[in-house]
């Protein structure tokens, strides 16, 4: 007994609710369903929790800026890593995004400094060399006592292209340039490794 399906007027969703659902669904990985769920959660949540979230969003935009040296995020002029006297200033690790800095810091293995490109080459998305912090990197290599540049861009097409471009730019400067090793992920399973990864693992095999 389906009646004439006079479509459920979206006007049933009151306007501020519709606006919040819309704002949430503009975030990456958040579809309309998740956006509704978050919105209705906040409707029921304590006033304070909603206000905390709103304030945190505003403050992150107002207070956070980029380190004037390495372009990592910071609240002062320089980021905590550039300010630290305990880091090796002769090794610079080049990453695409500030989140990559955190990922590498979590390993506890790296004691050098960073340079954040803020993206990767992607002509299809309209991202060219001039949109990345590449000139600033070259300037640093020329003015700072850098001995090694680790190109830690992502191991995918865009990351490889970006690394290759930077490698060409660095060549005349005579600095050592390295790239992160590729191989099997720890805890991984040979059987499930893709051919490319397994190929890299074979090429990069080392003596025991």
């Amino acid at each position: 007994m389906i009646v004439t399906p006079e479509r459920p007027s979206q006007s049933l969703v009151v306007e501020p609710v519709a606006r919040l659902i819309e704002a949430f669904s503009r975030l990456p990985g958040i579809g309309t369903k998740t956006a509704s769920r978050l919105t209705f959660f906040l409707l029921r949540a304590r006033e304070e929790q909603a206000r905390d979230l709103a304030n945190a969003i505003i403050q992150v935009k107002e207070q956070v800026r980029l380190c004037s040296r390495c372009f990592n995020i910071t609240i002062g002029e320089l980021c905590p890593i550039c300010l630290s006297p305990n880091r090796e200033a002769g090794i610079i690790c080049v990453v695409e995004e500030p989140l990559d800095v955190l990922a590498i810091e979590r390993t506890g293995v790296y004691r050098g400094i960073y340079h954040v490109l803020h993206g990767h080459l992607s002509p299809l998305e309209g991202i060219y060399r001039e949109h990345l912090k590449i000139d600033a990197l070259l300037a640093r290599v020329q003015s700072e006592p850098i001995e090694e540049v680790i190109l830690a861009t992502n191991p995918n097409t865009e990351g490889e292209a970006t690394a290759f471009l930077i490698l060409k730019d660095l060549a005349p400067l005579g600095v050592r340039v390295t790239r992160l090793a590729r191989g099997l992920p720890t805890g991984g399973d040979l059987e499930w490794a893709d051919a490319d990864t397994l190929g890299s693992a074979l090429e990069g095999r080392h003596d025991l």
Copy 2:
């Protein structure tokens, strides 16, 4: 060559960033990884997009309230459904949450009015009868020309318990009480249906 893993100081995450990650991860279904992703997305996003989201959160709390009759969400005194002259005022559909109203409206099948309980019975979570809008429902059934009450609480343990409690309360009032049909979902597959659903489908079979 793992060095002494002087643990990556969380202080590397600048404070406003840490606070936004924390605020995002207090939302349901958002873990720390997703919260970081959203935070770093907003860091890169246009000022305006971040401000839109923050304002939408504040406004949803400031402007949205509950319909004084059916407890659906609204911005005025009554919700759009209660205000509409085109709804059958003799049928009332009882749901757990405002989102359930939207789900039923999307079907285009229902022309009656609603009553939102704002939860379900759940002694384990400390939600008892008095936390739900049950007394208000009984008052409506006594004062409005209601002929049928559809108990559309969820088809799970809490929803069933809630429906059973309301059924008992409604019994003395002599109103017709119905429950949504249970059976195979449209587009579903007999082979993958759970025993309970398939059992309900058998019990509820009808002549063709």
